[in-house]
Symmetry: C2
Subunit: 427 residues, 2 copies
């Protein structure tokens, strides 16, 4: 039977989950996968944490050098997170020819090229299923499951914290600040929630997933990003009335106009499969030229779901000796001639507050007409009072920049009190 | 660049789809997969069909011997369907050391052991992603994506024809016979719909999927099977009122009681992710001990979705030289000591028609009480007339055989006109 020695860097939530899975399933993997996986070493500043998990003291390394020079270690699992020291540790492991399995989306999306170059040089494996959408095997699916397709579109709910917050805002009619506070109490959001609520986490993942889906390098800087901090309960309620659900979507498109990648709140029709992905669940919806629509749904985070993806990578690496897994198969450098779309197209929901409805709506309509933006629906919400009358306008598909310019003009109209929200309508 | 020669056996719907995908994506696969895949040979009785697809006459084989002796052919794609001659052709290919990719669920579930033995003998690959749930990469997911998990449950909507029929019955309130007729006209159901509507097709797939999920051989004979021919619009409507949707479910469970596999119509709660899988879409819902809930959704049939799975297997075979793919990794023979559950547990919806409501319900309740079956809900539907009063009863979880015995007793009560339906309630 093949034996594989693993080292785990970092025994936080995911590292502990990974260790637990490997320890409790050792016989199961011997029997079903014909591979004997042992945790040979761990690197963790808080040694007590390792001891509490039942790890022998002799297996707790003092530094990365001890691990990369340990001949019993075949696979190094990096679950520290962040760029440094994770980057240096991963590079050291790859330089010494050890296969790396990582859950580190930020590291991977920012330093993919460097890591891949290092892996190629020593013929080490480099696996990162756990970096995107936790236990959902979306990377395996892109690389080994729908690789027969030209993928034209990828739409995902790929951040659990924001989906949890938006689901509760939708169910309870509650506002963002109070739900965020509660989510932090319950452990669904971090003390500093920026990475999640501002869409950075989703942007990291979208950069990785769309690079794989579209077979070209999609750098983080190309991802348009907008978070959920300005989402209001009022708009969620109006959307509901109109048959829409608000989600933080990660959208990647690849067509004759180029590659388009963006993360922002968006309304989707309530009968779309993504609309019923609730709480901290994640899902990715793919469109391929042969397979049509495919959706994968599951837990995007957590010790055991993410550990499941890491251990899946370990087994894959152990049982596919000739296959170093997902890299840009064609080139590690950006492909020449790939265009990125900045001025993307969408439909738009715009809410604004006016003083004198009759007069001002004609002017608003005039601004849109001049910008060649066609209005699908225009509705007054409520009767209004001295603080103004709320009006909602939904456009047909049009260009982002044209809409933004039109909104600025509307904002400057004398009888418009405020433009309160601008939400894209997708799917 | 690696070159791979393919032969396609059968140019029906799936064979033509596969040919078209390979022809139209040859450059795409060269660029993104670094493999050059050419169709070297086809076997098709109707030669005109091959010529119409643009295949040169010199590549149309006269018999299987020509293909298995052709050194340019590395991979044989079997998309004939049914057991013979598919079985003999596949065996001939494997005997000559050629890798086989098949979409043939009936062949695979009935002759897995024989095929696998032949493949092992010559070290040929044996791939069958397309045999289950069309373009949805469910087999890849079980083998390479969630293989780190003990899978405890698999619940699927894995037959498109029956899901199409049930979706239309639900939406339109129409009866089975009229929707079936329409589905046949539109090409969603075969002229002889038996394999689909009686659940054979789903049972084949469940046998394959649960064998992989549970790492043991689950023979077709162990699958309890019931079709949708007796489903009535009345029950679908009553279920809707109670918050349920009717689906043909394929259920596999693996726990301390043993392995349980069954295909039958069942009510599921309308907020379950499977409840919104409509029309001819398919989905498989998995529960793993680490990953939790995972669902895969997509097109379960059709020329291009199934062709997508076949070509995915071809690329996988071409790029994973050391990995002969999904087999029973542990043993090709049934594992000793595996128990199969016959007397499974479920909740039950039972509709019956009684003459004298007040008197008879006490007797019915008495029969259930004696059988230790606990009633969750008992409701009268409508006022009734001389043809009787319809009553619906929903049980708590209980044993199948106990319920069937109780139903027989109820049927024999003097004031019970008929027991009209017995539908399991799941999820």
């Amino acid at each position: 039977m093949k034996t594989v020695g693993v080292a785990i860097l970092g025994l936080g939530v995911v590292g502990s989950g990974t260790y637990t899975i490997l320890r409790d399933h050792r016989d199961f993997y011997r029997r079903t996968q014909h591979v004997d996986i042992s945790v040979e070493s761990v690197l963790e500043l808080n040694k007590q944490r390792a001891l509490d998990l039942g790890i022998e003291e002799s297996r707790i390394a003092d530094n990365i050098a001890e691990i990369v020079s340990n001949p019993a270690v075949d696979i190094v699992v990096e679950v520290i997170g962040g760029v440094e020291p994770a980057r240096s540790f991963v590079l050291a492991a790859l330089h010494s020819g050890k296969t790396v399995v990582t859950s580190n989306k930020e590291l991977f999306c920012k330093h993919w090229y460097e890591l891949e170059k290092a892996a190629k040089r020593t013929n080490a494996g480099l696996y990162f299923e756990a970096s995107c959408v936790g236990g959902v095997p979306i990377i395996r699916t892109l690389v080994d499951g729908v690789q027969s397709n030209v993928i034209t579109r990828l739409t995902g709910i790929i951040n659990g914290t924001t989906n949890y917050i938006l689901t509760r805002m939708t169910r309870e009619g509650a506002d963002y600040a109070s739900v965020l506070k509660d989510a932090q109490k319950l452990g669904y959001a971090e003390k500093d929630p920026t990475a999640d609520v501002e869409g950075f986490d989703a942007a990291y993942k979208l950069s990785i997933l769309s690079s794989l889906a579209f077979h070209t390098r999609v750098p983080l800087e190309k991802v348009y990003r907008e978070g959920i901090a300005n989402v209001s309960a009022v708009d969620i309620a109006h959307g509901k009335d109109l048959g829409y659900v608000l989600k933080l979507l990660a959208i990647g498109k690849n067509n004759e106009n180029g590659v388009e990648v963006r993360v922002h709140p968006a309304f989707i029709r309530k009968d779309h499969p993504l609309a019923s992905v609730n709480d901290s669940f994640n899902a990715v919806f793919l469109q391929g030229d042969s397979v049509g629509d495919v959706m994968l749904y599951g837990r995007g985070a957590g010790a055991l779901p993410t550990g499941s993806a890491i251990v899946s990578d370990i087994i894959y690496a152990a049982t596919h000796a000739d296959h170093k897994y997902a890299t840009f198969k064609n080139t590690m450098l950006p492909e020449k001639g790939v265009k990125f779309v900045n001025d993307f197209k969408s439909r738009y929901y715009i809410r604004f507050t006016v003083k004198d409805r009759a007069g001002v709506l004609a002017k608003v309509a005039g601004i849109f007409a001049k910008s060649n933006i066609s209005i699908a629906d225009l509705l007054q919400k409520g009767d209004g009072d001295e603080s103004g009358t709320p009006v909602i306008l939904i456009t047909h598909e049009t260009h982002e920049l044209a809409v933004r310019r039109a909104v600025e003009k509307i904002r400057s109209l004398p009888d418009v009190f405020s433009v309160d929200s601008l939400i894209r309508v997708e799917g």
